[in-house]
């Protein structure tokens, strides 16, 4: 038995603490709803939502601050499986998942489900192939493992390069979407909103590292899942009397199919412009569909900021179980996203397409003014603007046709409260959820980046005798540096940010997956093999991405560059295996290390003497 400490009191009361937190949050939402009825302006409601939630996250971040190295890097390795599952779910689901996924499904129909499958199925690979073994190894970072298994700092350096390639653009995108959400709901300029979001992000992670991020991510998960499920549940209840949209949207799909036929028959859409929602392979051919699923799944099992969450559990068994909990919590959002898409499409086909240009629903203008809904090629800011724009379009006879309408994909989730005619407080809730999703992912990514710099570069490669206090100081300074740099890049509004995020999966998959899996499951895998494999797999993927995007290179076999790992993965595996077979087998020390990693019992392989 260990002596009781404040830490244990906290861990033993997690259920009560987070139960109170959820109750408090629900009460807060109800309070705001009452305030709104009493006539408090929307803008104040938005401010209260953003600042209250940010204050709670910051509060948790400050309460769970730490001066211990192992708590800073891996939350003291005592996070229970269920809570680590929630934290991982928040870590995993980014602002793009929260606001963008439903829009993608709206636009692509069946083909968009490649994202739903790809972003969930990868957890099977995490549980079976990677997470329990990395937990047993006891590393602080993924490059740490590569260094120990593959003979030192060169492998570590390659791991750091892969980590930076797949994490930095990702974190820029998170800060970007934090800025978008904050600016929309606070009515401040995007450039200032970015720094407001950044303050929220830093307050969570600066003082307490992984420990603070873990407990704020749990809080953020609870906010984001409530915010995501509620609006569409209300929509479903309004239409079907049953608030479980995940079940009722089957009927919506049927209605959409009927409406699609009517639009075609009525001349409001042509066969070229209308992609049937349920028809497979209209946007992606089957090969690209399955390639995308594979790259997203394997990328999931290779992203360092995700894998490091499983370093924080109390045991190998908990690491494995917590992957199951993670997927369960993620599942809740991902089965809801197609329902959002279906309900939004029904609204558009029923009430928007075919409506007179002077009789469009109000939400069209609300988002048109923000530049997110275009009609006839111009922002749908007002009735006059729409009529003026459509007068220029040949064939338009005062009625909105499908090709005339362009909706930004972020609108689908954000506009749902207004489509359902719900009070503003629900819109504020959705904004708080989107903010939670972006901030939690940004925190995980920043921590992964800063830990690679402070632990792998500074401690392992530069000063191996650094005392704990200096290691933590360096870690915090680097975190701050990475955050400010990412915020600066985000404030320049880089054009390709969304496609670059999708690349992160392919880069991580090709760079990390072959060597992680072979390093654990194939004892014959040698250092030279792994080093050659990372360079070849990552190199091919990187080359394909850059050359097809910027170099004007034609696609190989028609593979879209979002699935670039289709080339990098086989190359990575083949090179690792071939070079391994050509070089002498790993030493008996490394073989013993592999045995140790595989066996759940016993101490972690790697221990930190200053922890």
């Amino acid at each position: 038995m260990r002596l009781p400490s404040p830490e244990d009191t906290f861990l033993n009361n997690l259920g009560r603490i987070y139960g109170t937190y959820v109750g408090g949050f629900v009460a807060f939402v109800i309070l705001l709803a009452v305030l709104e009825q009493l006539g408090v302006p929307d803008r104040i409601i938005g401010y209260l939502f953003v600042f209250f939630t940010l204050a709670v996250y910051a509060g948790i971040g400050i309460v769970t601050r730490t001066v211990k190295v192992s708590e800073y890097y891996v939350a003291g390795r005592q996070v229970p499986a269920v809570y680590n599952g929630m934290a991982t779910a928040a870590d995993w689901m980014s602002g793009a998942s929260f606001v963008g996924l439903a829009g993608t499904l709206y636009a692509l129909g069946y083909d968009g489900l490649a994202y739903v499958l790809g972003w969930t199925g990868g957890f099977v690979l995490v549980a079976v192939l990677v997470a329990p073994y990395l937990r047993k190894f006891g590393a602080y970072t993924v490059p740490d493992f590569l260094a120990a298994r593959f003979g030192g700092n060169f492998a570590r350096l390659l791991g750091i390069v892969v980590l930076f390639a797949c994490s930095f653009t990702y974190v820029v995108a998170q800060i970007y979407s934090t800025g978008i959400i904050a600016s929309r709901f606070l009515g401040i300029s995007f450039e200032i909103a970015i720094y407001v979001g950044l303050a929220g992000i830093l307050l969570c992670s600066m003082l307490g590292g992984m420990r603070a991020v873990t407990w704020t991510q749990v809080a953020q998960y609870l906010v984001l899942i409530i915010a995501y499920m509620l609006p569409v549940a209300i929509l479903s209840a309004q239409k079907f009397g049953l608030p479980i949209a995940q079940i009722t949207y089957g009927a919506v799909l049927q209605e959409i199919t009927v409406l699609e036929q009517q639009l075609l028959a009525g001349g409001l859409a042509t066969a070229e412009t209308l992609k049937p929602h349920l028809a497979p392979f209209t946007s992606l051919d089957p090969f690209n569909f399955f390639a995308l699923i594979a790259c997203l799944m394997i990328g999931t099992a290779s992203l360092p900021h995700l894998l490091m969450r499983y370093f924080t559990t109390a045991s190998v068994r908990d690491a494995r179980r917590s992957v199951g909990w993670s997927l369960l919590f993620i599942f809740l959002l991902y089965v809801t996203a197609p329902a959002y898409a279906a309900f939004a499409k029904l609204e558009v086909y029923q009430n928007v397409i075919g409506a007179g240009l002077d009789a469009l629903p109000e939400w069209i203008y609300t988002y048109g003014r923000l530049g997110l809904v275009d009609i006839c090629g111009a922002h749908a800011a007002s009735v006059e603007a729409v009529q003026a724009a459509c007068a220029e379009v040949t064939g338009n006879q005062g009625v909105l046709r499908l090709p005339d309408l362009a909706i930004d994909r972020d609108v689908i989730v954000i506009a749902t409260p207004e489509i359902a005619g719900l009070p503003y407080v629900i819109a504020g809730l959705v904004a708080a959820g989107g903010l939670a999703a972006s901030i939690s992912t940004a925190d995980g990514l920043l921590l992964a980046l800063a830990n690679a710099l402070s632990h792998d570069v500074y401690y392992r490669m530069i000063d191996r005798r650094a005392p704990a206090s200096r290691r933590l100081l360096i870690a915090r300074l680097l975190l701050l540096g990475a955050a400010v740099l990412a915020a600066y890049v985000a404030s320049t509004r880089p054009a390709d940010i969304l496609s670059m995020v999708a690349w992160a999966f392919s880069l991580a998959a090709a760079g990390n997956f072959p060597v992680l899996v072979l390093g654990i499951w194939w004892r014959r895998c040698t250092s030279a093999g792994a080093i050659a494999g990372i360079i070849a797999g990552f190199g091919v993927t990187f080359y394909y991405l850059v050359m097809t995007q910027y170099g004007g290179m034609p696609e190989w076999y028609g593979v879209k560059n979002i699935s670039a790992a289709v080339f990098g993965l086989p190359v990575g595996f083949a090179v690792t295996i071939l070079v391994s077979l050509l070089t002498p087998a790993p030493s008996s020390e490394v073989q013993a290390l592999i045995d140790d990693i595989r066996r759940p019992s016993g101490d972690p392989v790697m221990r930190d003497r200053t922890a």
Binding site: L117, G121, V124, A251, I293, R320, R321, E589, D596
Partner: protein
């Protein structure tokens, strides 16, 4: 890091063999529901269950349910394998984890 002789006991070999076979079974199920069934989307879409065309349903929900169940099943099996081989970790000191 601990230095131990390379020799593995027969018990360890048996245990690792079981672990590998379990991993292969889990990945087989993963492959079927991650990829294979969606290859039959057109045929499955001819079947409608609760208004959902089955092919669409499998990609939107069915496979996801299988993935979640698969991971928990896998955990249970792997824990049993580890326990029987005597390589499992000791049970946690604190009671079961709070829900």
């Amino acid at each position: 890091m601990a230095k131990r002789p390379r020799q593995r006991t027969p018990g360890e070999t048996l245990w690792w063999g079981r672990t590998v076979r379990l991993a292969i079974s889990a990945l087989a199920v993963w492959f079927v529901f991650g990829f294979l069934v969606h290859g039959f989307v057109f045929q499955l879409n001819d079947i409608t269950i609760a208004d959902f065309p089955l092919g669409f349903y499998m990609a939107a929900q069915g496979s996801l349910v299988v993935f979640v169940a698969l991971i928990f099943w896998f955990c249970g099996r792997q824990e049993a394998i580890d326990r029987n081989a005597g390589v499992a970790e000791p049970e946690p000191v604190r009671g079961e984890m709070p829900l």
